[in-house]
Amino acid sequence: MLELFRSLWGYRGFVFSSIRNEFSARFARSRLGGLWMIINPLAQVAIYALVLSNVLAAKLPGIDNKYAYAVYLMAGMLAWSLFSEVIGRCLTLFIDQGNLMKKMRFPRITLPVIVVGSCMLNYLLLFAAILAVFAMLGQWPHWQMLWLIPLTLEVTALAVGLGLILGVLNVFVRDVGQVIPILLQVWFWFTPIVYPLNIIPEQFKSVMAYNPMFPIVSAYHDVLVYGRSPDIQGLLLGAGVAVFLLLLGLFMFRRAAPEMVDVL
């Protein structure tokens, strides 16, 4: 494991230049370039807000801001977009980079690290955009937002852990790559992002307890919408799950790495 980090450190230059290249490649030959990364989720928020605000706004308790629903959506979207982007890219990572892995010798672990770095960059841009929108809606940054640092780490760990496991499996069983986008879609709707928690029927609320994204998204809501500190207990449990999945993912990655090139 130590060797893993040492080779990663030796290739830090490559990791940074890959992230930068990916970022600048997005600006090449596109007028808005990287802005599309922000416009996409914000447009989604705008659509949901437009379509659903009349139905759901009244049910959002504790806030009387008329833009409350939009704020609520953005907070959840921020967490989910990071989560789903990391998983989505890890899922096809080894297949996409198959040619490179077959032809060049370099530490394979750099690949998921590059994905995380690049997704994190998008996340920060989206966060900055959301802060700007919040300011326009009359909500200024506050100290509770520091909670977002551990929260971001938890989402990332969870997403990378799952992404590594699925990405490795997808090399050998390609069905994984087809079924996961569907499951992610289902998962999205089983997490209170578009709708508030209180409209969920009582008998389904117990199911939510098994959703590791539920405490995380709730914490984003607590911090960004209500400006209060999140529920520590749920987060710790989620963090435990995230660390476990991350270790399992790394273990499977280490085991599968020599065989992956054989089947790619």
Partner: protein, 404 residues
């Protein structure tokens, strides 16, 4: 200590009944693969610093798999590879280049992929730019490059740092002939500085010009490892080998190795070189007229017979070769028991040195189709300079000179 040692190396592709069995095995479940395809088996050799080794073999012999394991992209299924030094490969030039980035950015990226950090690359970036010689294009996006320009940049990066082992695939032909000479020069330079070359090629000339050792792979194992000339002869014989024909190797009195192959439907009875007086000679003066006589026995009725010969220098490089198909002297409808005598007359316009003659008896214009007999080192002779002015080189091209 050897630079690279390969010990009983093998590679198998494993097929599992279900992929879940493979996954189970990572977690320690005792599942067995359903099938194993061995691509390579029992490969052992070691390489010393400064050697230049040609790796030859037909398609599918396992050359690429072996190279991938040496470079480290593939893991061996059994055996060990020990490498003491950095390996660079000119296998996939331009791997990882991104079309929207400039040449310069791509250089940083590609060198990073090879494991160098920004400071190390900063130190050689000017040299890379100068070596690639693509002018202001270096700061333009790679998508505007011609494929040759992309190759130039890729080669310049791949060889920016001298490795201990340099692997060169067929793609020795980088860009136009100017750049080919330039890149070849750099490879030679590396070799002089102590880099070991590992060259994969089907080009006999390249192997014999560059290498001092060759390894022949066939069917996933090393079947010959030795002097390039000997290995290449054997390789040629394998290619020419048809069903029910044999490959024989004789060690000649002078230590050379003669390779014979063919179906034996026609055989070489004798071969000799005569001077104008009709006496057999071993030493020939530069420019002397000589007659190469090849007597052929017909052992089975043949529809067609072509006799070809190649004169080779002491390194085994072809100097001149032709056959009776091209000379328009093809004999047809031959009967068993016929004895034919071919006389090839030519002036020995050769440079001073030792030469060998390889002879092939076959149908149609190439020995691949129907090989009756192929014999390397069938005849040896020496060219000496007895009457002409001093010159160097392989060929005698007598000039006249005027100075005004």
């Amino acid at each position: 200590m050897s630079l690279l040692s390969v010990d009983n190396l093998g590679k198998a592709y494993r097929v599992y009944g279900s992929e879940f069995q493979r996954i189970g095995r990572w977690f320690g479940l005792p599942t067995k693969p359903k099938e194993e395809h061995w691509i390579l088996k029992h490969i052992s050799f070691s390489i010393q610093p400064g050697e230049a080794i040609g790796l030859v073999g037909q398609n599918g012999a396992g050359k690429s798999t072996l190279l991938k394991m040496i470079t480290g992209t593939l893991q061996p299924s059994e055996g060990r590879i020990q490498v003491n030094g950095r390996i660079a490969a000119i296998l996939e030039l331009g791997m990882g280049f991104s079309a929207d980035l400039t040449g310069r950015q791509n250089v940083y990226h590609a060198a990073g992929l090879m494991g160098f950090n920004a400071d190390q690359i900063d130190a050689v970036i000017d040299e890379i730019e100068a070596f690639a010689e693509i002018g202001s294009y270096f700061n333009e996006p790679v998508r505007t490059y011609s494929s040759g320009m992309q190759m130039r940049v890729a080669f310049a990066v791949a060889t920016a740092f001298r490795p201990e082992i340099l692997i060169i695939d067929e793609a020795l032909s980088v860009g136009d002939s100017y750049f080919q000479h330039k890149s070849f020069g750099r490879i030679k330079e590396f070799q002089k500085a102590g880099t070991t070359l590992l060259i994969v090629s089907h080009d006999r000339g390249a192997i014999q010009a560059l290498c001092n050792r060759a390894i022949l792979l066939d069917g996933g194992t090393v079947i010959k490892d030795g002097a390039p000339e000997e290995v290449m002869d054997y390789y040629n014989a394998i290619i020419a080998q048809k069903e029910n024909s044999t490959v024989q190797v004789h060690t000649l009195a002078d230590g050379g190795v003669q390779t014979r192959s063919g179906s034996g439907k026609a055989t070489i009875d004798s071969i000799a070189l005569y001077n104008t007086e009709g006496a057999p000679v071993e030493y020939v003066g530069v420019g002397d007229n000589v007659c190469l006589t090849i007597n052929v026995n017909i052992n089975e009725a043949l529809p067609e017979l072509v006799v070809g010969y190649v004169i080779k220098d002491r390194l085994g490089q072809d100097v001149f070769g032709t056959n009776t198909h091209h000379l328009e002297c093809v004999r047809t409808s031959l009967q068993e028991g016929d004895l034919l005598s071919y006389k090839f007359r030519f002036p020995a316009n050769l440079g001073v040195g030792s030469y060998s003659v390889a002879v092939a008896l076959h149908a149609t214009d190439s020995h691949i189709a129907d090989n009756y007999e192929w014999r390397d080192l069938a005849l040896l002779f020496n060219v000496v300079n007895m009457s002409e002015s001093t010159f160097v080189g392989l060929a005698w091209i007598p000039p006249t000179v005027e100075c005004e």
